[in-house]
Symmetry: C2
Subunit: 148 residues, 2 copies
């Protein structure tokens, strides 16, 4: 039940862009160093996220990536699905990539995996990058005052 590195990097990258929103584009390089993600790998991830409609980009000097919508309109579910596919733990309970099992006697388990899927989806569908950005800003602020 683990999240892929790709999924984790993607969500960190979008969070970084959300923290910067609505200022202009950010370079791959800057996102990479801020979030400690291998630059050439991040490049691919950002491309996928762009194709998935989460990001837009601008070439040339003063170019970079920026969110295609307000952070409050981008859910974590959308980002994770774009990177890793269905949220379901196994295909037979995936809404998107549904697969019929050959035997009915597994269905005692099917019900369980469906419950897991729904519960994960519920959280990720209802969390936006605005929520995450706010949490992050708040945590940073608290950390600052703590140090005084």
């Amino acid at each position: 039940m683990r999240l892929s590195t790709k999924g984790e990097y993607a969500s960190r990258a979008i969070l970084e862009l959300a923290l910067h929103y609505p200022k202009g584009p950010l370079h791959i390089r800057d996102i990479s160093s801020a979030q400690d993600i291998p630059e050439r790998f991040l490049e691919q991830i950002l491309l996928s996220l762009k194709r998935a409609g989460c990001l837009k980009s601008k070439k040339g000097p003063q170019g970079g990536y920026y969110l295609s919508r307000d952070p409050s309109e981008i859910t974590v579910a959308e980002v994770i699905r774009a990177m890793d596919g269905p949220l379901a733990p196994i295909d037979c309970v995936s809404v998107i990539a549904h697969e019929v099992c050959s035997r009915e006697n597994y269905c005692g388990l099917k019900w369980l995996w469906k419950e897991v899927r729904d519960s994960v989806a519920e959280i990720l569908e209802n969390t936006t990058f605005m929520d995450l950005a706010e949490r992050t800003k708040k945590a940073r602020k608290e950390r600052k005052t703590e140090k005084l």
Copy 2:
């Protein structure tokens, strides 16, 4: 956020043993054919589950595997952890394999993954193989009456 094949096979195997409980041991071969799991792969899985304390075994004729406890005492969480390790989507929110992140600015996400972890754990900790066996029996019964 996918379950490994190993985790899926393991839960199916334990379910099969729970359905057979408390009758005597079942051969690897029988579990394998009932649940359609590659026999030599299942062998390894059963060994791990034995080491994890879910199963016991008996060698020789009339031998096989059987549950070490009542199905109501074996949770799905226990089985999945034995096969795949921590339930947490990423290590920094794992109770067992906790890892400190080098940067505090990820914590906006940390909180989210923790919520996911807790929600998955809540379900898997509270589902036992008695529950699953009962569900399965009920589903089979319904399927039978449907056919009349």
